[in-house]
């Protein structure tokens, strides 16, 4: 599994919640993301961790489709970190 010693991201963002979808494969990261976002409030920032290689394309597609804002993305080894601002 992944260590918890992830270095701080280059994107200096305050996040309101983190969803760890590492270990899940398509479509589950997107399904869980949609569920999580429903529980959050407008303007809040969600950090999403995912290591399904498809996430790199899937998460930006999801944000553009749903009107939520992708503030940034980082790659850390085999995992991705996404920062999403809830619409």
């Amino acid at each position: 599994m992944h260590g918890s010693d992830n270095t701080a991201g280059e994107i200096p963002l305050d996040k309101d919640a983190t969803l760890d979808a590492r270990g899940l494969m398509c479509p589950m990261p997107i399904v869980q993301l949609a569920k999580k976002v429903k529980e959050m409030n407008s303007g809040q920032v969600l950090e999403l961790l995912a290591d399904d290689v498809g996430s790199k394309e899937d998460v930006p597609a999801w944000t553009s489709r749903t009107g939520n804002q992708l503030l940034g993305m980082e790659e850390e080894g085999k995992a991705f970190k996404f920062y999403i601002k809830i619409k």
């Binding site: 398509c26 997107i30 399904v31």
Partner: protein, 134 residues
């Protein structure tokens, strides 16, 4: 209004079972309205307690692929079906196929609606995306 996504499923093998659930849960998670119509050999996928098998001789390896999926943390058929229902995906059984295959409404899983082609086409007529899985 949400974009509509419709699928027609006419085969009942393992891959044809999983595909509409993967696509359907994803589309629903993207805010789309999803409608799936099951006809011919696809119909059995809507029966209670179904366990879809790989096609033909490959059916012997269904257990292997199920195990591998579990290992990879990929949800199985029942779990995906439940996810899809929770996300509001609509499932329809073709009434003619039911008669042809001897399937009764009571054989079908909860939440499945029985329709004819006309009612489904009425739903599909203003859809944005259509997939045929057969």
């Amino acid at each position: 209004m949400a974009d509509k996504f419709v699928m027609v499923v006419s085969e009942g093998s393992f891959d044809k079972a999983m595909m509409p659930l993967i696509m359907g849960t994803t589309a629903a998670s993207m805010g789309m309205e999803v409608h799936v119509f099951y006809t011919f050999f696809g119909l059995k996928l809507l029966k209670k307690g179904v366990r879809p098998k790989l096609k033909g001789m490959m059916s012997l390896f269904t257990g292997m692929i199920e195990k591998k999926m579990k290992k990879l943390n990929i949800p199985g058929y029942d779990e995906m079906m439940q996810q899809a229902k929770d996300l509001g995906v609509n499932f329809y059984a073709c009434s003619t196929s039911m008669a042809l295959m001897g399937v009764e409404q009571s054989d079908l899983a909860d939440g499945v609606k029985v329709l004819g082609a006309s009612a489904f086409l009425n739903i599909a007529a203003d859809s944005k995306v259509q997939l045929f899985i057969g």
